[in-house]
Structure formats: C-alpha cells, structure tokens
Symmetry: D2
Subunit: 395 residues, 4 copies
C-alpha cells in the first residue's frame, strides 16, 4: 500500500454552523465541533449553547462567537439567524434528548438545515411528526448516528448490499459500558443524571442511549427492516428510573433473527460496540474499539482482515479515509465523515447538482424515527413481561 | 514466574477404562481417549466401539484391546466386564445422544462408574430417571461438560463464589460455529447427519449440541440457577430438521439476566465459545479460543489479564495446570482434567478417603439433567412462538 | 468510568499559522492541517504550499487563503509575513527533508515560531547548526515527532520517569511497513520517489523515514541517551538507492541495550510501530495500531491493560484526551496534541507566563538533532560493515 | 468446516520408551511423557530418572516401572536394556544439557534410537562428534526442537518451500520470558540454578535455553542457512554467570537478514516465541502463544488468518491435527507430533519401508549441531564486543 494522498479535505469554502446545546460542562457538543472542524468544511458562527444565560454567553466566548450570535435561547437563535444575510447554513442540536424535537422543528420550519444528535426525539409519535416536518421543509435533516460514518462500516453495508454475504440470516450486536455500575446518577453526576431521567432522556435508559446505536448499526449494515422485538430491560442499580441493561431478541423482515445486548453495568467495558452479521455465503465482524479493521470470511475460506486504507478496502470506505492504513483513525474521524458529507449535501442542494454519491448515505429523519420505534417497542415489550412486540413502521 | 514442576501426572497405578462408541469414523471418542491418556491415570482395556460388529472388532484392534474385550454390543460388554475379576473401573459413553440413557443405566446398575458425553440423555424425563439410578448406584457418574475442566474456568467459578465480582447481574454467553452453513446433513456427512436427526440427537439441534455447553459454562461459573428462558430457534438450511441457530434470553433466580446465542451457520466461527459475567464489583470475560487467559476487571480499575500458570492464577487453576504460562494448553488438556479428577474420585471411593478437594467439582448427573431441562425449555419456548418458559428443576 | 467533559478544546482565540509545503499531491501537510484544526487553536492564513507556482496558488485557493498570502516561494513568505502586522505566529514546515534546514533557519531568524516535520534536517551537521539558530532565535522550535503526542506514550514516559519500572534494562522497538516491497520508486510514485532519493531524503531510507520514529519513541519513553549502534541496512529492491530495511542493535548510557527493526518491505505491515520497555520492576508494551491501550506488568503480577481515558490513566495522559475510553482516538488526535501544546507554549511566551506543565514536553530542536545523530550513526555503522558506531551527542 | 475424524491416533501397537532424567522435581521430563502418551504410540518401560538413586527409584515407582528397569544410572540402563529381549526401542534424554552428549553417545552406540532434548550438547565440538556417531549408528536421532511440531509451523515451512512468499528477505524472531528478572538462581531455585550455570548449561544462558528455539524456528521455516551473527549478550542480574538477554543481528546465505531477541528479564512475558518472515511476494507471522493461527499476507491483499484445522490449512498441517479448528491445541500436542513422527520413523525402519512423508521432517542431529554453532557464534561474537562472527557449518 503506497502512501498516497488520502483524505477528504477540500476547504476553499466553509458552511456556517450554529449549535444548540454543547456549552461548558457538556460532552457531545465538543465532539460535534471537532468533527465539524476536521475537514475544514464548517465554521461555527452562532450558538445557543446553554439554557443558562451566563453559561451560554461564556461558552460562546470560549468558541470565539460574535457576542450577538451567542444566544441565550434557541428561540432567539432561530429568529436571529433567520434574519441575517449571513445566517447559519445548518444547526447542530446537541441538547438533552427532550429538546431535540422542538428545536429541530423550529429550525426546519425556518428553512435551516439540521444536524441532530440521537435519539432523535423522546417519543416515536414526535419522531413521526418530525418526519413530516422535515419532508415539508425542503432542507436537510441529518441524524448523527455517527457509527455509520466509519469507513469500514460503510464498506460492510456495501458488501451486504452487493450480495457478498448472500442472504443475511443471523445478526448479533451489542453496545456495552460500565460507567453506571454504581449509583452515579443518584450522586448528581451531570451526564448520569439526565441520561437516567425519563423526562429528559425519554423512556429508554441504556436502550435509548446506546442500544439504539447497536440497532442502527445492524440496520445500516444489513439493510433489513426490524419487525419484532422481545426485550427484557432491567435497572440493576436501586432507585434508577431507567434501564441500565437490556437483553433483546430481534426478528427481521425476511426471516433473519438476532440478539442485541446493551449494558451500562458490565465492568471492564467502556464503549464496546460490536456486530457480527452472517449470511448464506459469508460473515462479517466489526468492533468499534478496533474500527480500522473489518473481518470478512467467505464461507469455507480463511478470514480476511480488511484494514482501512489497505488492500481490499472499497471506494466507499476510501472516500471517508484520511490516513494511510494503521495510522489509526477513530471516533472523531468517523463523526467527521458525517459532517463532511452533510456539507456536501448542502452544497449540492445550494448548487442544484447531484451530490458526491459517497456523501449521500447519511442517517436520515426516517432512521431517527426507526430508532424511536425500536426504543419504544423494546420498552413496551419489556413492560409487558418481555413478550414479542411489533416495531412500528416509520412513516 | 519461575518454571517449576507443574502438572497432575502421578501415574503409579492406572484405572481400567472401557468405552462404548468411539470406533473408526467417530470423533469424540478419540478425544476422550487422548484426555484419558494425558496424565496416565487410565488404561483402555475394553470397548463396544461400534454398533457395526466388524467396525467394533477392527476398532478394538486399533486400540490394542484383547479381542475378548472388543465387544460387538454394549449389552455384552456390561455382562462381560461385570463378570471379570479385572473388569473395567469405569466406562466412557461416547455414542450418539439417544443411546446415552440406556447405556448409562446398564453400567450404573452393574455398579460400574460412568463417564458420559453430553447431552446426557435425549429427554429431560430420561435424565431425571438417570438421576435416580445414579443416586441409587453408589458409583460415580461424571458428565463430560468438558469446558469445566479448563483451569481458568475453574478459577472464574472460584472468583464468583468468593464474592470477588459482588452480586452477579448480567451474563452473556455464546457458542458459535459455521460448519452447517450448507446442507452437509443432506449430503450424508456422518457427523452432520446424526446431529440434525431428532431421533438420534434429541429435540435440540444447535441448542443441544453446543448451546448446552454455553448454558453449562454460565451455570458452572455463576453458580446461579436458571429459572426461565425465551428462545427463538431457527433452522436456516432448507430441509434441516433441527435448529441451527438459537437466540435465547435468560432469567436466573435472584434477578440476574442474560443472553445466550448459539449458531452453526455463522461463517468465520469454528468453535467460538465465550462468556462475560458481570457483578456489582467486577467483571470476568473468557473465550475458549484463548482459554489460557482470563480477563478480570475490578470495577474502576484496569483490566487484569490472568494467564494460566502465571501471576494471579489461583490454586484451583494451578491444580489443573501442566505447562508453564504461555506454553499453550488447550481442549485436550482441559478434558484431561475431567478424566484425571474422575480417577481421583474413583480411587478415593475405593479407598474410603476424601478425594483431593480440587478433584471434586466435576459435572454431575444433576448437571446433565439441568442441561436437558434447559434444552427442552428452549425448544418448548420456541415452539410456542418464543415465549417465556420455566426451566424444570432437576430432581 | 463516567463520561465527563474530556478534551482540550478552548478556542476563544486562535494563533495564525502558515505552511511551507503541503500543496496538492502532498501527504503530510494535510495531516498537519487536520491536527492543527482539531482543537481550534490555529487558523491557517498563509502558505508557500508548493515549489510549483501554479500548484502553490491553486493549493492556497483550496485552503481559502488570501491570494496575497498564497506565496510562490518560502523566501517570499518569510518576507511577506515578517512585514505584516497580522503576520503568522508560526510556520509548519512539511516539505521534503532537504528543505527543512533552510526554511527553518529563515523563519527562526525572522523571529517566527517553527513547527517542523521530521527528520529535522538532512545531515547531523545541519541539525547542530539549527540547534544554535533555534537557541539564538528566542522563539519556539517544535519537531513533529508526533508519536510523542499519544496520551499513553506520555503516560509511559511518566511511568518510567517516576520509577514504576525500576531501572530500564531492555528495549525493543520497531516500525514496519510494506509499501516499498515492489519498485514503486522506479515507477515514479511521488511519495516513493523522494523518500528513496538521497538528495531529497538524506542518507537514510527506511531508517530516516520511519526508523527515526522508533528511535524517538524509545528515547522519549525511556529518557535514556543512546550511545552506540550497530546497524545492518539493506536495500532489497534492485536499484533502490536507500535502505528499505534496517536491523539495529542499541546500547544506551547506563547499560540498557535493545534492538530496533525498521522495514518497508515486510508484507502485511502498513504502519506497525511498537515498543517494549523492561526494567527491574516491571514492563510496558505499546503498539501504535492499538494506541488507546498501554500494557503494564508489575513484575510478578498480572498484566494491566490501561485504556486511554479509563482507570489507571494518569493526568499527563488525560490532559491530551478528547474522548471517553474506547471511543477510539488515533493518529490525528495524537498529532493534534503536538499542535495544541505548541499553541500553549507560544501563548505562554507571548504572555510572559509559565505554560501548562502538560504542554511542555514537546519534541525539540535537540530531539531533532539526536534523531539525525542516530540516522547518521546507523548509516555509517552499516557502511563500515555493521560495526559499532558511537552516536554523536547533540550540542 | 465440518467436524470430521481428525487426529493421528492409531495405537494398535506401541514402542517401548526409556527415559534418562525427568524424575521428581524435574520439569521437561513430564512434558516428554505427556507428549509420548498423547497418541498412544509409546509405552514408558524403563528409566534412569535421577542421578540420586533414591529419587530414581521413587520416580520409577511413580511411573509404574518394573523396579528392575528403574535404573540408578544411565550407564546401567544402557547395559540393562541392551541385554533384554524386550529392551527399549528408544530413549528420551531429558537431563541437564551437560549430560546430553555422553548419554546420547552411549545409547546410539548401543543401537538404541535417541530422542534428545535441546540444546543437543554443551559445545559445538561435541555436537559434531555426535553427528558422526549418529550417522554411524544406523538408528534415529531426534532432537526435540518441539516448536517444529506445531501444525502451522510446518505449514509455514511448506509455504516458504513452495515459493508462496517469493524470495525471503527479512526475518524477525524472538523468545521472551521474565522469570529470571530477579536473582532466582542465587536463591537456589533448581530450574534457575542449572540453567545459569555454565558447567551444566553450556556457554549460553538465555541464548542457549530459549534463543536457540527462535533460531531453530527461523531456520526450520525459512530453510535458510545462517552465515553470520552479531550478538550483544548481557547478564542483567548481578552475579548471574550466563546471559539473561541477547540482542542478535542475523545474516543468512543468499542475502536475507534479520534480528533475534531473547530475554529472561522482560516482565510481562512468560514464553513469548514469535516470528515474522517476509519475502518478495508475501509475509507470514506466527506467535507461539496463539499457535493455532498463522497470519499470511500475499503482498497487496488482505491478511488471511489460517486457523489450524480450518480453511486454508494444508495437508502437512492437518496431518498433525487432532482437534477441529478453535478447539485449541497447544504445546503438548505439538510436542506429541514429534513423538508420533519419531514412532513412525522407527516403525518404518523396523519394517524396511518408507515412512509416512509427513513424519519425516523431524529435527535431526545436524539441526542440533547447527543450534550449537549458533549459540557458540553468539557467545563468541558478544565476547569480542558484539562483532560479526561466522557461524560454523555443521558437518
């Protein structure tokens, strides 16, 4: 493998980005900003970074925002940015989950492209409404189910789609953490507190916070529609309001079945996301911790290790590759692909042209709705004793 | 780690072993024989090695048996060995599953110790009868759920038992193969044919052949009683009579939950047995392919790699260790521990003394019955649409 | 491990960065730019991006540079930027090796901070002169031996320094690739061509291009001074002018010894950088491909896996950490730490204050000179038949 | 991969084995016995198990030997067994190194086949004499460089031999332990004491005890003749008489070069033996701790994981395979292949027929002599300051 010119940088022009949430003390906002900066396609120019006005101002200053554009409410920001000639091209929504709907709605209705963190809304019903709003808006809605930005996850999807694995029969996926093994939430740790509060996080705990990533990963790679779940959700830490562990059986349209496990109480696991997907002709395995490798077994032949940027990497993977093989890329780089692709989609729309085909496969508002359908089906299945529950179809 | 004298060899005397099944063309019989020979505690002196008389004779000659003791039926063998002064001390039963019950019964009733392959019987009802027969027999019944012979599996059990992990909350286990991805059974491959024939193998396909190993591994390490399962069994290869993939939810007495996945149609997996077990104070992970390491995480501390024979290995593990750390041991060595421990149990009984405590933790007739209860509960759960099914308690 | 606020972003103000080299078709320039952008501490405002004026202009436009600051020669850039009120705070030098000296000298003498790619110069003599120039300049000279930016490499250095390993006795390090297994250079592949041309790359091929990274990694972690080398350099591809494989014995001051292997002709290796360092009390192992883990063995205890951001990670590692554990970080993130630390050093100097102590341990002009001393010693050792050769001390 | 009948068992008849050394308190003798028993081709019937008569008798009883054949000196054993009608077919020599020569000589001259542990003798001169004696004896001399018994090591050799890798250019090998990090030898630990005593072990410490395994592995796989070494041997523990760490450069006939590192003072390593071998067309990597996998990269294609017993395993590997893929085999199994192949060679000689071709590639007396030549060249190279030293050619 020769070292050639990798990478997606092409920066002569930048889109203007705003952000709702993500002020001091937040976590995911900073990740979005690093992802947005990586390929130099975005400039952050506005924000409603905190519900606390003082924090909002201070956080705006941290980011070097024009003080006029460091809004103290997202409502002001919608208005302010809509009225400017140089208003933002897109807004990143990185608030706790319960605000995603209102904020998304407002910006979409103002004709501003939206990049929204997951889970998309707190309820499936809201998500369905958002589908209609997004469809009507005529602008982009991109959901940061960021694992779909990993180059080899995209290759896995392509390999399934082109029939390399034959018919998919079996899927195993999991996302496992340990940080809620103790009662961090009761101790007031900020990240733990909102993620375990149904008013802020929605009905799902681990299933909504991380299980939905595993669901989405399986859906993205397999291209299959999930029809039914049987989910046994538990909250192992006394007093915790939402599940911290979920064991789920999956049934896909067409006959594939699977298991999904998510946990926040599995000591020794920090962010272990993994998937195995098996068809009549071969199998694929991928682990987020080792994102630069994809393990592919054509049935009856030795397993191949396909390394990002190396032999066997497909164009769809190389399109999102910045570094030569085994100079590791990671979470921010995969997330950065979502932002760079979103930029391309917005430019293409502005310019009335077809976007780069490798930029088009972004998680959509429908994927968000599907995620909510999955979460709600799991919660309802579990509430009824872990019985089979149909997964609602996103409109 | 100094190289010291490892190993369990102490061979001045040998017990006499017979074998039912395991003739030419069989697989597991040869494994039992290698395991029995490893520590030189057994001598194979008799056999009813095949239902085909010619094969039985030829196979006996292969093993150097006295032709008088190369029986052409197991019934003859029971009689013949019972009548000899130097009759066998124990019999290994390595036939297809459907014969386990009758053969075990006959030898137990003849007062001959039994070492029986898994699954113990074809039905739970039979297994319960065998419990009573074994209890009444006054001799040993050892079930070769051989994974319990791995030194670090035994250490894992000891660590759970001594409270190192706190209260166990979550278990994930799986046993995955790919050899039945195509219709080998329909093509007449011998191993595939009997394992997918309900008359020979029982009601479970993958769940009975390999899923029961994952179940047993979880039970052995956790010490927990499985109360309920919800199992979705599938047979993906057209025409196959038994399941080749099973997705199972687990509920243990006391509140722990888990998932169990078994498959014979997952390309790239040959014999991937693994478990993760997580409690309030820590987690353990073990993979059969990497049996010489146990990964232990005390919550909030870095993961420790405990290597067989190395620092952190406990006496219970060292007792079954023959080689210094990282001179790999494997399947035969773990299996050999079952045989060497069985010999010790039999000697201790002969001599009216307590056995070496490290030899006592062998899989019993009750473990066999529990395995059948598990298999039947899974099959019944699945047959009713994958609903929760109580696991019968072994008497 | 709770998800808390990680990361080094703090962006209210940005330094102005220029770049020499790194235009269209170049590789490492884009890496520097991504690294510089990651934490938002730099803005790229000027460049002499190519020796070819047309490419220089076009590449400047790619980066959105003011056309006046897209210089067609680095000499013009020194002049132009020196004369501006808003001239660059620092220059990144990412040209082929043979230009590093002249360009560094010119910017240093103009009082502009320099961030220079490795190897620092083409000869040790030049490097010594650059030491004097940098010392006299009063500005920062930062060498992008970027592996020193990985959080766990910094932790390894800290663990050695605080005596955790006892006295270091043995070091093993290697950096292995395969991209020059065939005669890419002869086929005119641009990256291959200059890296194998002694006029552009200097006297070392693999030893200068990648071996110096392994040397530097060992020096950075161990803190030991290399006294002697015995190096056997080979050029396996017919017609190649510089070495593509080097086997080196190392002797450090104080008695530690080691081996260093570097290769560009080892199929299956893309960028495999690794080190093991062993002392009287313990050992450390780290592999670049798996940069988020550090394997630490206190002698006589089980190996600990220390994960970036997780339990056991020290403050010095956490200071350069952006993501929670097992959301992988990689090459760009480690490189980004060099850029963010450099920014802090420059701001501290501007403000007449002490810098953040975690920002101070950057590779210096003396490290660059030490690298050249290593390369030249290896080349000379090999030229004389692979005999022991003293490594010159950098002034 | 279907489960079929694996394994090399075929036991109708057994050869008679004697053993010199290997009594109570010894280590490697027990390993030889397990290896010999595994496939049931040997019966241990005689021994001179210890130089201490009491231990010799007691150890003989442990093994169930006829007391007449539990000799108190190997000289008696040569005589006693030579005079018996049912005398041993072969003797295993598992004493400390300094006795290998005399004992081998005596048994060879008595026309008894010899299986001798490594290193074969204490000096190269002795080894050369043994070559002549063995050649003249007309019986088998098998050296237990046991790593050559691993199925995938044999496959690696076959892949090099058939040109799969092209011309071999680069080799990297190492064998690393940590058990001598402290002064165990000074504390009287038996294994440590003799292995660091030049009178018992010979001139090499780590280089003779384990380095020779790495050398042998490289020679076996590559088929290349080592011409020169440059070795820097150190004894890091004060007072230790022999080297505990060795850094070695290698030059092979035909132009390949390499590095060999061996250490007994590298905390965290128990028995880490590994090799990488790279040619013009591809590379192979193998690690003893993971002996059931071989990593093969055809240049420019993804790396293949070839698993013992699985797809891509060659006949030469399958011939030494007992278990299906990923039921792990290990050290004893590989060692067992040496014993089973030795049995086949002896039977074939007895019967005047050609042996099974897969049994013929055993380490010979010449390989033993080559090992001594390597050890002596390393010691002499190091003694002269780590200069290049020709490796003597074994006659």
């Amino acid at each position: 493998m020769a070292i050639e010119s990798f990478g997606t940088e092409q920066a002569a022009r930048k889109l203007r980005l705003g952000m709702v949430g993500g002020g001091r003390g937040a976590f995911i906002g900073a990740v979005h900003r690093m992802a947005a900066r990586l390929d130099d396609k975005w400039e952050i120019v506005a924000g409603a970074l905190s519900a606390d006005p003082e924090n909002a101002k201070a956080s705006g200053a941290d980011l070097g925002l024009d003080p006029d554009r460091a809004y103290t409410s997202w409502q002001d920001m919608v208005k302010g940015e809509s009225n400017r000639e140089d208003g933002i091209d897109a807004v990143s929504i990185v608030t706790p989950n319960h605000l995603h709907f209102d904020v998304s709605k407002a910006f979409l209705e103002a004709g501003i492209n939206v990049i929204c963190d997951k889970p998309m809304t707190v309820t499936f019903a809201e998500s369905q409404e958002l589908v209609r709003i997004a469809d009507a808006s005529g602008v982009q809605f991109v959901l940061t189910q960021n694992n779909t930005g990993y180059p080899l996850v995209r290759q896995a999807r392509a390999m399934v789609a082109d029939g390399t694995l034959g018919d998919i029969q079996v899927i195993r996926t999991s996302y496992v953490q340990d940080w809620l093994t103790t009662a961090l939430d009761a101790e007031g740790q900020k990240q733990a507190a909102w993620r375990t509060d149904p008013k802020l996080a929605g009905a799902g705990g681990s299933i909504g916070d991380i299980g939905v990533h595993a669901f989405n990963l399986a859906a993205f790679i397999s291209g299959l529609e999930l029809e039914e779940v049987c989910a046994d959700l538990r909250s192992y830490v006394p007093g915790r309001q939402l599940d911290d562990n979920a064991n789920v059986l999956l049934r896909y349209k067409g006959g594939a079945t699977g298991t999904l496990w998510t946990s926040q109480v599995a000591p020794g696991n920090y962010n272990r996301l993994s998937i195995g997907i098996y068809g009549t002709k071969g199998g694929l395995e991928w682990v987020g911790e080792d994102n630069d490798n994809l393990y592919y077994t054509p049935f009856g032949e030795p397993t191949r290790t396909i390394t990002r940027g190396g032999p066997g990497a497909m164009d769809v993977a190389n399109a999102g590759t910045r570094m030569p093989p085994r100079h590791p890329e990671g979470y921010i780089e995969g997330f950065g692909n979502i932002y760079s692709n979103a930029a391309e989609m917005i430019w293409a729309a502005k310019e009335g042209r077809d976007p780069d085909p490798f930029a088009t496969d972004l998680p959509t508002v429908r994927d968000g709705a599907t995620g909510l359908a999955f979460i709600e089906a799991c919660v309802q299945s579990s509430n009824e004793g872990a019985v089979w529950q149909k997964v609602a179809k996103a409109g």
